[in-house]
Structures are given as C-alpha cells and as structure tokens.
Amino acid sequence: MRRRGTLWFWVFVGPFAAGLALFTYVPLLWSVGLSFFDAHNTVTPTHFIGLDNYTAMLRDDAFVGSLRTFLVFTAFIVPATYVFSLSLALMVNRLTYARAFFRSVFFLPAACSYVVAALVWKMSLFNGVRFGLANTVLGWFGGAPVAWLSTTDPPWYWLVIVTVRLWLQAGFYMILFLAGLQRIDPVLYEAAAVDGARPGWTVLRHITLPQLRATSVAVVLLLVINAFQAFDEFYNLLSDARGYPPYARPPLVYLYYTALGQGQNLGSGSAGAVILALVIAVVTVGQARWLKLGRTDADG
C-alpha cells in the first residue's frame, strides 16, 4: 500500500517538481554561478572574476539609485494602499444594499493588466498637453498644463505611478479587509456602545483595527513584496525606445536593461539579482519580526 501511495505521490507531484526544478531552481543556481563570471553576451562563461560583479554593482550609482527609488515607492504605495483599501472596505461593509455591486465595482480594476492601465494613465489621463484629462481639469481652474511624467521638480511622476497602482490593487486588498471585518464579532461593537464608545474613530481605533491585526500584517507584507516586484507600470509609463530616465527606475527595470537589454551583461545582471534577493529577504524577515508575524497573543 505504501509503495502504491509513493507511486501516486510522484505521479502527481513529479511533473510539477521537475518543472519547478528545471524552470526555477536550475536557472536560479545558474544565475548565482554567472554572477561570479565575466559573462557579456554569454550564459556559459569561462572567465572567473570572483566578487568583481558584486563590487561593481554596489559601486554603480544607477543600481544604488534604483534601490533608493524602490524605497521611495514603498514609502508612498504601502501606506496609501493600506489606508485607501481599508477605507473602501469600511464603506462597503456599512452598506445595507447593493454591497455586492460595489464590492465588484471596486474589485474590477484588479482584473486589468498593469500594462494597459499604465498606457491609459500615460496617454490619456496624464499626458502633458492641454487636452489630457488631468490638464483639462487643471485648465478649468486656470492652471497651466503640467508635463506629469517629464517633470522632476516637483516630481509629479510619483503621482502618476502611485495612482495607477493604487487603482489596480486597492480592490484586491479591500476584499481581504472585508473578509477580516466580517469576522469581527458584532458583540464587541455592542459592548462598546453600551460602554459609551462613540461610533467612528474611537471604535475604529480601539476595536476594528486591533481585530484586523492579522489581516493588516498579511496586507502590509503582501504590499511590500509586490512593491519589490514593481516593473510593468514603471516600464510602460517612463521608458521609450531610447531607454529609461534615471529617476524612478526601480531595481528590476535597471537589471532588465543590464542583463536583457542591449547590455547583455549577464554576470553583472545576475550579481544585481542576488543582491536584490538578499535585500528582499532581509527586509521581509525584519518586517515579519517587527510585526510579530505568526505569534499569538499568548506568546506576548
């Protein structure tokens, strides 16, 4: 019986395990290997250079700048999405009718491609000429057209980048918060009302938010990981056939140009990917410890 069970285990798991090994782990290890070689235009290099690629990447202002860009983006997008999606969830949760309709409406953008959304933002909402939607609205109030994506002082491009992602992902996190809200025992609110707590901020602060702690931890963790993976909207909003501006260039975009663009410097690109993976690991573990992920109240 045990042998038959093992056989079926491998029948079902084997193909996926093989695929995972072939398409994920082998390239991953190969990439780590490449990072120690001079690998211009080749994936089978012969010239071992030790840690040179790593030191070059860490001294590369463009790569270090891209890490800074990521931090700025995270600082904008994580709190913005958290607050916006929680607000949506609280509003939808209070609805007594058409709740399913509004839940669907707010969730729908999650089904839109990042590429499509970025192009809509770039070409119709936030283009820099007078007939772009944002500039038309500005014009009603007597404002001059703003080149949203081309102006670095003030850096209006952040408004475009953050709003497009906010629109795309807030609905998904709203669903997570809704699920969390619906698990809160109504008795708690009733008890609070009996004790004289006014509905609104006091109840939100002392009952809703503490009860949503587990959901909040998961949401923040997912938001940070998603922010690390930022590529599509940055690339489609800011790149052109000639490349990419040095501001608002996240690490994945920079590594794309280094390793897969005309640069084809697969050694440096791999070293950058390893550095980025380490940064993500450190931040995620640090964040998980800070938020006491996985601990129960009994653990203190």
């Binding site: 211009h40 670095t152 056939a241 000639r242 490349g243 897969l260 005309q262 640069g263």
Partner: protein, 420 residues
C-alpha cells in the same frame, strides 16, 4: 511611421524598449535546391508593403529556402537573446552588431562579401560595422534625424531658421506661447534621442579614432548646459501623446519645431505642403559644426547558424548583388537613403526640396554612433544628460563621472580584444 523607425536609429543613442515582445512568422517558400532552409529575421517595419517585399526577395532566391520571420516587439532584445541559443536566426538584420556581439563571437565575419564593392557603401554607416579591419554587418538602408520647423510659425514670430545652438535656444523661447511650445525633443526633453549629437555639434566626438573618450573637454559642459536652458525657459514641449519619432506634435501645432527622422518627411509634406523646412542640429562654439546622427540596420549571419556558408551566400546575393532589390527596399515603401552610394545618387525622390537637404546633411554633417560606444557607456551618458537637462545638474560634475565610466568601458573592450 511607427516604433520601427525609432528602433532603427537606436544605433545612435541606445537601447530599445517595450514589453510586448512577440513573434510573427511568414514563409518565403519551402526548401531550396540545396535542401537548406535559412531563417531570416527582420524587425517589424511600419511601412506597408515592406513585409511582402522581403518575402518576395526570399522567394526569388534559388540556392536555398529562406523562411522570413517578421518580428514585432523589442527586436534588439529578441535577437540578443536568440544569439545565445541554437534556435536563433541564420541571417538577421541587426542594429549593430554591437562590439560585445563581435568580441563574443556571435556573428560571422562578412568582409569577403564586400571585397569588390566596399567603396560603394556609405562609409559613415559602414565604419561602425567594421572592427579589427573586418566587416560584421552589411548596411541595408540609411536613416537619419533632423530638425523640422514650421515656416509660417517662424515667420509670424519674426524668427529665422536657427543656425547656431544659441539661436535655437532663442528661437524656441520666442516661438513659445500659451498654446504652442517652441521645440519638441522628445518627452524626456531630448536626453534619449539627442544622445551624442550636441557633442558633435560642439566639435567633439563620443569616442576618438584612437579609442579614447572624445568629450573630455570644457566645450561639452558648455553645450549641454544650453540644453538645460531650453528646459528652464519652458520652451520644450513635454508629455506629448506621441513621442519624437512621430511628427504628430508638429502637425497638431503643439510645437513649432521638432526633432524627428527622415522617415517622417512624407507625412509632414503631405500634411503641411511647403510650410516646413529641415535643419541639422546647429553647431555650437568656435569649433562647432552642424550635426546629424545617421544609422543603419545591417544584415548579419549568426555564428551559431548550422548553415553559415549558405547564409553568407544569401546575404551576398540580397545585400550586395541584387541592387534592384536594395533600391526597392530603400525607396518603394518607406523613405530611406540607400546604403549604396551609387543607388543614393540615382534616387529621384531624394533629389528635391527638404529630402535633398536631408541627403546633403547626411553627407556633410552625418555621424554614426561609434562601435566602441557600449550600452553601459550610453546609459551613463544618457542618465547624466537627463539630469543636466531636467534637474539642472552641474554639467561639469556630471560629465566628469561619465568620462570615468566611459574610459572604464573602453578599457574593458580593449582588454577583451586582447583575450579574444
């Protein structure tokens, strides 16, 4: 004209873009007489009829079968990745080849194909395909960039077509009002498309003949600083729906002057009639001179091809011997200058008006991006240019860092040569 033209001149300034890479394929015909079938790749041209034309050329070749693949998306990245594998093309057009592709042994030496006709190929575009005295790509057609201006708008503002960079800055300011901007250099303010052009306009180079940094000179900072002046004056159109490669901004009167390409000329002429003129990028300073970037896709043979000799023979047939096809390819669909001097001289469409001016600019002021200008050097320079133009960064400080980076790249390439 579309992305394809933009990609062509990336030889002058850098990397390509776009995530929507895909592939299309069309068959020229089945196996030829030798039983060999060659895979030939083209990037997607915007001009209607080009795809059918190259399939016709392929079908006319009798010594081997040729299967044409017409590849939309970011072609340069597709070919660069395909050259790492055995499943790539045998023959392909390339925005280069790059120095790393040549030194990495990814493309085949094609010198012997041109031994009798080398002098008939435009030297400006043949030079960047030549390394160590050997030729690694056969130029197909020449494209170039130039400055378009609306004659009527300049006349209304009392502005003469600018002959110097100072005059361009001044003209752009005078032509700017609440509805029309003076100049459009791309939505990034010109950092991407201009590339080395302002340096050549200052009488400098990206890389010198002997392989040194060509812009370690105070004139470079002075000239690039004037580009920031355009931005600071708010004379530049930014955030246009279509970027510099498309003449829409000029045609829609969003700007009075626009930097674009030769490919836009038929559309501009159709829309504006005689109400436009063309100029090279104006010179700056005592040593300065006008400059126009030129570039050419080249036909190359992959070193991983299993049919290298057959592929070379096909390239020779199409891009060296069949001058009728070369003329057809350059002039019947889009608007290009034939890479062969003899064909360019015969082209009647290029002998009048702004088209003739453009050809003259190419001859008198054309420069091609040097082969030794690597993508890493390009990124460093372009980032600095972006900071100078848009953020008002100090040009001297920015250029100092770029010179260091480019010198390092040139050194790397030189050492790679020794070990190859």
């Amino acid at each position: 004209m579309t992305m394809s033209r933009r990609a062509l001149l990336a030889a002058a300034a850098g990397t390509g873009a776009g995530l929507l890479a895909g592939c299309g394929s069309n068959t020229g015909r089945g196996d030829g007489g030798s039983g060999v079938t060659l895979a030939q790749w083209y990037h997607q041209y915007g001009e209607p009829g080009t795809e059918q034309a190259v399939e016709r050329y392929a079908a006319a070749y009798k010594k081997a079968g040729v299967k044409v693949q017409w590849r939309p998306g970011n072609y340069d990245q597709q070919t660069a990745a395909a050259l790492l594998t055995d499943s790539g093309p045998d023959v392909f057009e390339v925005n280069g080849p790059t120095i790393d592709q040549i030194q990495g042994g990814q493309v085949v030496d094609l010198s012997d194909l041109l031994k009798d006709v080398k002098d008939d190929f435009n030297p400006a575009v043949l030079a960047p395909k030549t390394y160590d005295g050997r030729i690694w790509g056969i130029p197909q057609v020449i494209d170039m960039q130039l400055l378009y201006y609306r004659k009527s708008l300049l006349k209304d503002a009392g502005v003469e077509p600018p002959a110097t960079l100072d005059a361009l800055v001044d003209a752009a300011r005078k032509l700017t009002d609440s509805k029309v901007k003076g100049l459009f250099l791309g939505n990034d303010g010109g950092a991407g498309v201009l590339g080395g052009t302002p340096l050549y306009a200052a009488g400098l180079q990206l890389v010198t003949e002997d392989g040194k940094v060509g812009f370690d000179d105070p004139a470079a900072a002075r000239t690039l600083g004037k580009l920031h002046q355009l931005y600071a004056d708010q004379s530049l159109l930014l955030g246009a729906p279509a970027d510099w490669s498309d003449p829409s901004a000029l045609l829609q009167e969003l700007t009075a002057m626009q930097w674009s390409g030769l490919w836009a000329l038929p559309q501009v002429r159709k829309e504006l009639g005689d109400d436009f003129g063309v100029l090279p990028f104006p010179g700056d300073g005592g040593q300065g001179k006008p400059a126009v970037p030129v570039g050419a896709y080249g036909a190359a043979v992959s070193a991983r091809s299993r049919h290298k000799d057959a592929a070379k023979e096909f390239v020779k047939w199409l891009w060296v011997e069949r001058t009728d096809y070369q003329e057809d390819f350059a002039l019947s669909y889009g608007f290009h200058i034939p890479a062969r001097i003899s064909l360019a001289r015969k082209a009647t469409r290029l002998q009048n008006g702004p088209a003739a001016d453009a050809v003259r600019f190419t001859t008198d002021h054309g420069y091609a991006q040097p082969l030794l200008w690597t993508p890493a050097a390009q990124t460093a320079y372009q980032d600095a240019l972006s900071r100078i133009i848009r953020s008002g960064a100090n040009p001297e400080n920015e250029l100092r860092a770029v010179v260091r980076k480019v010198a390092g790249e040139l050194n790397r390439v030189k050492n790679a040569k020794k070990t190859s």
